[in-house]
Amino acid sequence: MSQPTLPHTQAEIGRPRRRIVGVQKVTGQATYAAEYTPDDLLYGYVVNATITRGTITGIDERAAREIEGVVEIIHHLRRPKLGYFDMQYSDIDAPPGSPFRPFYDAEIQFAEQPIALVVAETFEAARYAASLVEVTYDKAPFDVDLHKNLDTARKPKKGIDSILKPMPPDDYGDFDGAYAAASATYEGEVYHRSQHHNPLEMHATITVYEADGKLTIYDKTQGTTNSQIYISGVFGMKMSDVRVIAPFVGGGFGSGLRPQYQLVMSVMAALHLQRNVCVQLDREQMYTFGHRPETLQRLRFGASADGKLTAVSHEAFAETSRFEDYHEAVVNHAGMLYPVENVHLEYKLVPLDRYSPLDMRAPGGLTGVLAVETVMDQLADQLGMDPLAFRLKNYTTTDVSSGKPYSSKELRACYEQAAERFGWDQRKPTGKHPQRGNRLVGHGMASGIWDAIMLPAKATARLTTEGKLLIQCALNDCGQGAYTVMSQIAADELGLPFEDVTFEYADSKLDASPVQGGSFTTGVVGSAVKAACFALKDKIFHLAQILDGFPLGDALLPDVTFTGGEIVLNADPSVRIPFTDIIAFNKGKALEVSKTNVPNPFKIKKYARNSHAASFVEVEVDAQLGVVYVTRAVTAVAAGRIMNPQTARSQILGGMVWGIGMALREETLLDRQLGKFMNTNLAEYHIPVHADIGELDVIFVEEKDEIINDLGVKGLGEVGTISMAPAIANAIFNATGKVMTQFPVKLGDL
């Protein structure tokens, strides 16, 4: 008789799977926030201020109200009651300060500030009427110029956001002494303008005003729980009266990490009119809220003659608004990547008459590592060292800035495998590559580092009456593939086929979830899903132990395997208990467990926790015309266990493209005289297009991490972006001998 064999218990994790919502997305069946169709829906269109600072002195609505279909015009003089305390406007991702309060009073604090909402029966009527609202102002002087106001730079206030974005450590060692004694030194600046997220889906909210006065809100957000907290705060409503739903998000990149103003306005109009209201921003309005801050960095690095980095000074000056201290970790990375003993770090904010910046893909990391890694190449050049050899010479398995060992760090393997795949041994010193026609050739590389963040999260697991698994969490997903990966984790934990797992998500009535950002979703929410499933497994097993006839005898949980919807006794695999028997034993009722996973601080706090990457890039630069082409690139990533190689690869490819944007394309042009952004559309704000992208290759190196979480997952959305941009800049240097200090590098700069 053949023994039934035990199937592999981890069939799903590590298996390439396309996103479960992928087909819906590419066939137009996914419903985005603005696409719900509740009855009698009204449409709101936002009127933005045409001055940068001052006070509204009058709003003439007459012409707008003449337009057929206009229902109401809402603004600071006609609106529902709003919260009084700053705290009520706070959200999970809010920096310290006084959050902007839409329609609160007559004060204008930044260009394009939303000041009124025209609500009409159709979008077109609302938009046209909005163009007819006549607003008069008392103008006040303003200043939006970062460079001119560096003397006002000051340290950011500390808030809860410092947990995710730590302030730089205090100086250590003796920078001045070490810098003076260094045999090779480099001093330089790196500057980039503001950038915007540009998700394809524009921000939109539909608020459904329910018969009992409760609200159901379809919002474009990266956190349903976050929007729920925010709305209940602003309008003083009970959390349970506010339900936020957001299953599909057409790109976020950070733009949905804070509730945006269309959300408040949609709710305001719904409460005021007691009707259902849709407010969707247009493409221009997508440039009227948060953005990656314009940042100027000053670096001084020193190294010894044998190539040891001995001194690092990294200072950054970034814009923020006058009302919030948005900050990011820009200057922390050199001390984490390299074991340098003498460090001076400074991160300062310059408050200006602009809207607060907002986290945007790899906030701080992309900015800071771009500077660090381009300066590293300058030092390598001075030392006559190969850039990779220079980095290997300064390799460390301890984060010297915190004195803690890394929970795991396979950056060396990233360097080695990517270098090999790329053919780094073919690299020639600067300016020495043979020319291809008019084109100079350059090879460059850079390291990347990103935090592996752990937070508490909660999930519910239910064994349904059919013996299948339902997972619930309010988490939502901008497209990275989180729904798929959560289902994979759950399937493995309970030994069920993938098809037997359903994931219910993106609804604030489910277990609260952190926002989807920081590359922490898989580690954080995945751990909660795993914990909930494990608890459910335990519960199932306890019932199985007391089934009639005690088929499992005195077996304990480790003595059985959950597989194929059955509990199988390891010692005698012919003993199998289908989940449906358990349900029957439970009188036909489903089994459910909710579990909060709280990371063990004693365990993880002892370690530095980061994912790493290395990018190798070839560029061609037209010697006569200065046109730059990224012809090929390889990125290797060490991010713990790779749950789904297909969605993971897509994340890194997207990150590499984003790196091309950072290095060569993206910037929002701020007019200093007018105080506002000028290239506010997708024709004039240049995101890379296909023609800008050469051959891209992704490697995942093996990395085991037993510290970070039970899954061994670190997250990888952002790390692939970070190493790419400096690698491009370094390749340009290798081709041309010119040091890149302003990004993006544009035609005319070379």
Binding site: N438, L625, M678, D692, L747, G748
Partner: protein, 339 residues
């Protein structure tokens, strides 16, 4: 959207009659007009739709060996037309270097000639702009002027004409055939667009209600030696910072017998300097000779904070175009630099 009247024309005279009066607009593909409308910059009271006029949708050969491109033929249909590809490959390549396939499928030849500048300040209805609101000022001079002119600008306006197609049409010496209430007339291409001077609100010399019927190409198409080189801030789907349309013919000794050079992205109109082209006649197509022509073409050029690089870039681009034009088979799609 404001209320407006809509008239679907089926013949030329019907269209011209319907369009008489201010604030009446013809509409071709609508890729520019509808954008301007949405941006609150255009407010037509009557829209005269040209898409029902079949006789404007044809490409026909002319008795003098030239080719007539109907005003309602789309940009893509023009670029892929076999006669255009064979005899006017410069025009075909130039059109294909512009916009995106989707836009080119909708955009018409008539509309392309009349597309408005991409100056940021022009598009922002709350900024001052002399082109949009005469006398209100020009923030571009002190502001973001990377896209802006280095030649032929005025105190009032430094905007550029954004079209690619028009740069090739200028080099090809096309003629624009138009009809208005007073009848038909022909405008040589180089006189079609104008410099801003004191009237930046006027992009061209077309009269208020005149209809573009066709763009007529002369027989000479420079199929042997031509290029369109487009330099821009990304490799596709971006307007030219500097572009060069060049065509020349060589005599038995390999010397240039006739040459045409037009620049895009540098002025309020495609920039041509016939005297500079004359310098090349009888000369061999070498870098030195093109450098002399480039100097003459760019004489008097001066820039602003963000666009001065375009003077040197245009010079280099002319040299490269001269080399690229010699053997068009080496050229890359999208008018990217080759060689």
């Amino acid at each position: 959207m404001n209320d407006f009247a809509y008239y679907k024309a089926t013949d030329i005279d019907g269209a011209v009659n319907a369009a008489a009066g201010p604030k009446n607009n013809y509409i071709g593909g609508g890729t520019n007009l509808i954008d301007l409308w949405k941006y609150d910059l255009a407010h037509p009271e009557k829209l005269v739709d040209l898409n029902g006029i079949d006789e404007l949708k044809e490409i026909t050969e002319l008795p003098d060996g030239g080719l007539r491109l109907g005003a309602l033929v789309t940009n893509n249909a023009t670029a892929y037309h076999p006669i255009v590809q064979e005899r006017y490959p410069l025009l075909s390549r130039t059109i294909l270097a512009g916009a995106t396939p989707q836009i080119r499928n909708a955009a018409t030849n008539g509309g392309n000639l009349l597309q408005r500048t991409r100056c940021y300040y022009f598009y922002d209805s709350s900024s001052p702009c002399n082109k949009r609101v005469p006398g209100s000022g020009c923030p571009a001079r002190e502001g973001h002027n990377r896209l802006h002119a280095i030649l032929g600008y005025s105190d009032a306006c430094i905007a550029t004409m954004p079209s690619d197609m028009c740069v090739a049409l200028a080099a090809l010496e096309a003629v624009v055939r138009v009809k208005g209430p007073e009848g038909e007339r022909c405008i040589p291409f180089i006189e079609f667009h104008r410099l801003p001077g004191e009237q930046p609100e006027k992009d061209n010399t077309l009269r208020e209600d005149e209809l573009i019927l066709s763009v007529d190409l002369p027989a000479r198409g420079f199929a042997g030696h031509h290029t369109y080189l487009k330099l821009r801030d990304r490799h596709s789907y971006a307007f030219a910072l500097v572009s060069v349309a060049m065509g020349y013919e060589l005599d038995g000794e390999g010397n240039i017998s006739v040459a045409r050079i037009a620049l895009g992205g540098v002025a309020h109109k495609p920039w041509r300097v016939p005297a500079a082209e004359e310098l090349l006649v009888g000369k061999s197509p070498t870098e030195d000779q093109f450098a002399r022509a480039a100097e003459a073409i760019l004489e008097g050029a001066s820039g602003f904070e963000h666009n001065t690089f375009k003077i040197d870039l245009a010079h280099r681009a002319i040299l490269r175009a001269g080399a690229m034009a010699h053997d068009p088979s080496t050229q890359r799609p999208g008018a990217k630099p080759s060689l």
